[in-house]
């Protein structure tokens, strides 16, 4: 768990006739991260050519993504293919699948066309509605709000046989012909249109045989219905739009089974093609190489042999030799599932290099301890816990929200940490409901700590945070030494800023600082002690640059060295040594002091709660409760976020920078569940 999973490289030769079965098996096992075999420096291998595929992977991918796009519009997310899908898959005929999708697209487009037509009608009605809303309808007995109305309202009659002609003619303009009824083959209308279109509208009206009339008294009530008519028509059109939208969705839903079947088939074909793309072939044989966890070696070996009836040659190579550099090996995290949120925090920073320490198991306790120290409240912790569980439930089944799911999981962990630290410090929604198990944080901040308590002042809390920081930095240093030792980087092990000498200077500095603080005035620390603790490693550090210079000459020869030895080089070494020392002293000091923020945020958290309680005490009853609820909400949101970010920052900058370079490559095998 502390180190990344041990990996092994497979180099395989199989017969061409077995390659299909082998690729199916490799996909089914899903453990190999393929490497480019062309990168192996071997003349014989370079004679091999790429395996020709009768299908274009990019075309398959495009079709698969098209189906995904279609299905996503109706919230259907296809599940990853299963082994059964792999064995029962059919051959992919690109043209056939394209035809299916083009047909759906075509049908969808014809519905869209209808939607567009209706939308134009809606827009015209909205144009009229806006005018009515702004200026009124402008009927003779309805006073206009202003003279700016652009509506033209007129009543008239046309021969009933021209009704369609009239409506068709008006279709291009924002207008509303309201039928007032028929009388002796004459249809009566109240027509609302825009003044700007009056010229064109008048032409249409005269072609339809329009005769202006005064609104008959018995039809005067119609004007009140016009408003209703506009909104009714709008509603009808909107409802029709909704129906069309549903029709588009139904069109896809009705094809759901077929689409998913095609998707699965395409997906399997795509993954198999991706595997085959890593194969190289000669006339009869196929070769490939890739990485897998060592623990999977026997099973994969057995499966390959089974797939090709033992007609294969398998070679296994362990990393670490001269042929394979550690930075070429993919890295697989090796943590329990519950560490997933912390794995996310680590991989956001970078992937550890192969063979080095995976910081995840240490980030978990450190992050939670930092968070708990800054946000110690059992009540508020419960709220975080509930919010986290709710988030996890909401995002659990949505693959594209995997990040949110892990974030919610992290919130659950933070909630648990807050609860534990809340109990330790006796804080429950800012109230000391129970006796603290460790010390009374509120009491310390308000200056009412118990007599004789070990932590009784704000300064004590700060010192506690500093101790915590020193511990974190030392853990980081030790991890760096382990990493450098395991990767045989002996010079860095000694001379690196976070190497043995750097750590020696830091430890000596810490010892001296605490000795000075604790010693009585007049009791000075002996010079020998100071030299041994800090002076000696400082002097030894000076050897770094000369060592690099002479080892470079030794390895590349004097003629290849840019500068020949001269007294100025010693000055350069002195300068580099001074700068490095400055960096070490200022860096470690800043790193250590940075942990005071843990105390700072914890104190701020308590202070805020005290402030809200004081405000609540100034009122009574419901107002007091509201203030406390709002105060707690604000603290949970603001302080929670702040503590989360600060804990992350301390991990990234004070802890990781000591040992973690994040230059590794994540292990991403091709499997049925591949992204």
């Amino acid at each position: 768990m502390i180190f990344t999973t041990e990996m092994i490289q497979l180099f395989a030769v199989v017969l061409g006739r077995d390659s299909e079965r082998v690729s199916e098996m490799l996909l089914s096992e899903g453990v190999v991260q393929f490497a480019n075999i062309g990168e192996i420096d071997n003349q014989e291998i370079n004679k091999f050519s790429a395996v020709n595929s009768n299908i274009s992977v990019s075309e398959v991918t495009n079709l698969r993504e098209r189906i995904e796009g279609l299905l996503h519009t109706v919230n259907i997310i296809p599940k990853a293919p299963t082994e059964t899908n792999l064995t029962t898959r059919g051959s992919v005929v690109i043209e056939k699948e394209k035809k299916l999708l083009d047909r759906i697209d075509g049908e969808r487009e014809s519905i869209r066309e209808r939607q567009r037509t209706i939308q134009q009608e809606i827009l015209k009605l909205e144009d009229i509605s806006r005018q009515v809303d702004l200026y009124g309808l402008g009927l003779s007995d309805v006073p206009l709000k202003t003279q700016h109305s652009f509506l033209q309202v007129q009543t008239g009659r046309i021969p009933a046989s021209n009704a369609t002609k009239l409506e068709e003619g008006l279709a291009d303009y924002p207008s509303l012909p309201v039928s007032l009824g028929k009388q002796d083959d004459l249809a009566h209308y109240l027509l609302i249109s825009m003044k700007r279109d009056s010229e064109s509208i008048n032409k249409i009206l005269s072609h339809s045989g329009w005769t202006k009339i005064k609104l008959p008294n018995e039809l005067k009530s119609v004007k009140e219905d016009v408003f209703k008519e506009i909104s009714a028509k709008h509603e009808t059109l909107t409802a029709e739009q909704k129906k069309l939208e549903k029709r588009v969705n139904d069109l896809i839903k009705n094809q759901e089974k077929e689409l998913i079947d095609v998707w699965v088939n395409l997906r399997v074909t795509e993954l198999l093609s991706r595997i085959k793309n890593n194969f190289k072939s000669s006339s009869r044989t196929v070769i490939f190489t890739g990485w897998l966890p060592s623990a999977k070696k026997d099973k994969l070996s057995e499966s390959i042999k089974k797939a090709c009836n033992d007609r294969c040659y398998l070679e296994w190579r362990h990393p670490g030799g001269k042929e394979i550099a550690d930075n070429e090996v993919p890295v697989k995290f090796n943590n329990p599932k519950s560490f997933a949120p912390f794995e996310m925090l680590v991989s956001n920073f970078g992937i550890p290099q192969y063979k080095t320490i995976d910081p995840t198991p240490f980030v978990m306790p450190l992050y939670l301890a930092m968070f708990g120290l800054m946000f110690a409240d059992a009540g508020q912790g419960i709220i975080l816990l509930i919010a986290g569980i709710f988030g996890m439930k909401s995002f659990r089944d949505i693959p594209e929200k995997k990040g949110y799911f892990k974030l919610s999981w992290l919130i659950v962990w933070c909630g648990v940490s807050s609860i534990i630290f809340g109990i330790l410090f006796g804080s429950y929604f800012g109230k000391a409901l129970f006796k603290p198990l460790w010390f009374d944080y509120h009491g310390v901040v308000t200056g009412h700590a118990h007599e004789g308590a070990r932590i009784s002042s704000v300064l004590d809390i700060m010192v506690l945070a500093l101790y915590f920081g020193i511990l974190v930095i030392f853990v980081g240093l030790i991890f760096n030494w382990i990493n450098l030792f395991r990767t045989h980087r002996w010079v860095d092990f000694l001379f690196d800023k976070a190497g043995i000498l750097g750590g020696w200077i830091y430890a000596g500095g810490i010892y001296l600082a605490f000795s000075v603080l604790k010693s009585n005035p007049g009791n000075s620390i002996s010079a020998n002690k100071i030299f041994l603790l800090v002076g000696l490693p400082v002097c030894l550090l000076f050897l770094k640059e000369p060592y690099h210079y002479f080892s470079h000459i030794k390895s590349s020869g004097r003629e290849h060295t840019e500068k020949s030895f001269n007294p100025f080089i010693i000055l350069t070494w002195l300068m580099q040594w001074t700068v490095e020392l400055l960096e070490i002293f200022s860096g470690y000091l800043a790193n250590t002091l940075s942990f005071i923020r843990v105390a700072g945020l914890g104190i701020a958290h308590v202070s805020l709660m005290i402030a809200f309680f004081s405000m609540a005490e100034m009122t009574s009853g419901i107002f007091s409760i509201i203030i406390l609820i709002l105060g707690n909400t604000l603290v949970i949101c603001l302080e929670g976020l702040s503590a989360g970010v600060q804990a992350l920052r301390l991990n990234y900058y004070e802890f990781f920078t000591k040992f973690f370079h994040g230059t590794g490559k994540l292990y991403t095998p091709i499997s049925l569940n591949s992204d």
């Binding site: 098209r66 279609l70 519009t73 134009q120 303009y173 279109d197 909704k242 588009v248």
Partner: protein, 355 residues
């Protein structure tokens, strides 16, 4: 007096976060390959443009979606205004003028088509902004107006009143809005440069440089239109050009207008200031329009390089705001171009050439 750090630290962090969400070129290439408009919109579901897909699904109306994009873009400028230091607000306002001017131009075009050109009802009337952007201009009255007097009347108190009054007769007599639109653009860039000059020295320098490249692009666009479509003589073209260009001055434009060998003329400034672009100069061009389009392409590349320069340089100046606006505007432009191209079934190659 606020220092550069306190002025720009917050907005810099905020905008860099937003810049990381701008769609990558590969995404647009993928969109260009999509078989239909619907499939492009389907692909937008996981991006900031998801509402485009929602609007299109509900209405089938792409323009309505585009109008929402425009509203979003304006809201973006207004939003950024809230986060910038007060010294920069006037400059952001000057940038906001581009939307008001474009909206006003669209409204006047609708009026012009209907009243002067006697064209039938223009459906674009439904796709302009009726809400105020900077000035409270009643767009309703403009699209429904009977004459330019009514339009200039409702623009009283705005910088547009004089422009409309000055050019209304020319526009009617020439039967084109071109002169008036050019005047609007002159006002926009003039105002922008004035606002830029009020900024602190370093900020002003950056803004003038970037605005200068933008003016170059605008001028070259006009040069192409005026020379090839309007067959306008050089003297008339020169009067139309916006002053303040960064790479193209009047002398250079005159040479470009007359020249056969465009590459030779522009290689002086390209080689000196943008050596990475010299490869473009080797492109073989045929007719004069292609040559001018090549310059346009080079200017676009120059703009990209300027933006890169800003993003890689000192983070505490106004450059980050400008870079963000330019990148966002380009992103929206590409989205619009692809969606419209897909709606009109343009070929993949044609779409790719537009990006």
């Amino acid at each position: 007096m606020a220092g550069a750090l306190s002025k720009y630290a917050f907005i810099n962090a905020k905008l860099r976060g937003r810049i990381s969400k701008i769609l990558a070129d590969e995404t647009f290439e993928k969109f260009a390959k999509a078989p239909s408009l619907d499939s492009v919109l389907d692909s937008l579901r996981d991006t900031d443009f998801v509402e485009l897909q929602e609007i299109y699904s509900a209405t089938g109306d792409l323009k309505k979606g585009e109008l929402e994009l425009l509203k979003k873009e304006i809201a973006l400028y207004i939003d950024i205004k809230r986060y910038v230091h007060k010294d920069s607000i006037e400059f952001i306002n000057a940038l906001l003028y581009q939307f008001e001017i474009e909206n006003l131009k669209n409204a006047i075009r609708i009026f012009f088509d209907r009243k002067i050109r006697n064209h039938p009802a223009d459906p674009n009337i439904h796709y302009i902004l009726y809400e105020p952007i900077i000035h409270n201009i009643p767009i309703d009255i403009i699209v429904n107006a009977n004459n330019f007097d009514e339009i200039s009347g409702v623009c009283i108190g705005t910088p547009y009143e004089t422009i409309i009054k000055k050019y209304s007769e020319t526009v009617i007599s020439q039967g084109t809005l071109f002169r008036m639109e050019v005047a609007f653009d002159h006002f926009y860039y003039g105002n922008l440069i004035e606002a830029a000059k009020k900024l602190k020295h370093k900020d002003a320098e950056i803004v003038l440089r970037i605005s200068g490249v933008e003016i170059d692009l605008q001028n070259i666009d006009w040069l192409i239109r005026l020379k090839n479509f309007y067959k306008m003589p050089l003297e008339a073209v020169l009067t139309m050009l916006i002053p303040g260009g960064f790479n193209l001055n009047k002398a250079l434009v005159s040479e470009l207008y007359k020249a056969q060998n465009v590459s030779g003329i522009i290689q002086n400034f390209v080689q000196g200031k943008y050596p990475g672009l010299t490869a473009l100069l080797t492109s073989q061009t045929g007719d004069s329009q292609s040559r001018l389009l090549l310059i346009h392409r080079i200017l676009e590349e120059i703009m990209k390089q300027e933006v890169k320069r800003i993003l890689a340089g000192d983070p505490f100046n106004i450059g980050i705001i400008l870079a963000y606006f330019i990148l966002k505007r380009n992103e929206l432009k590409k989205i619009r171009a692809i969606l419209n191209a897909k709606q009109y079934n343009l070929s993949q190659q044609r779409i790719e050439s537009m990006l």
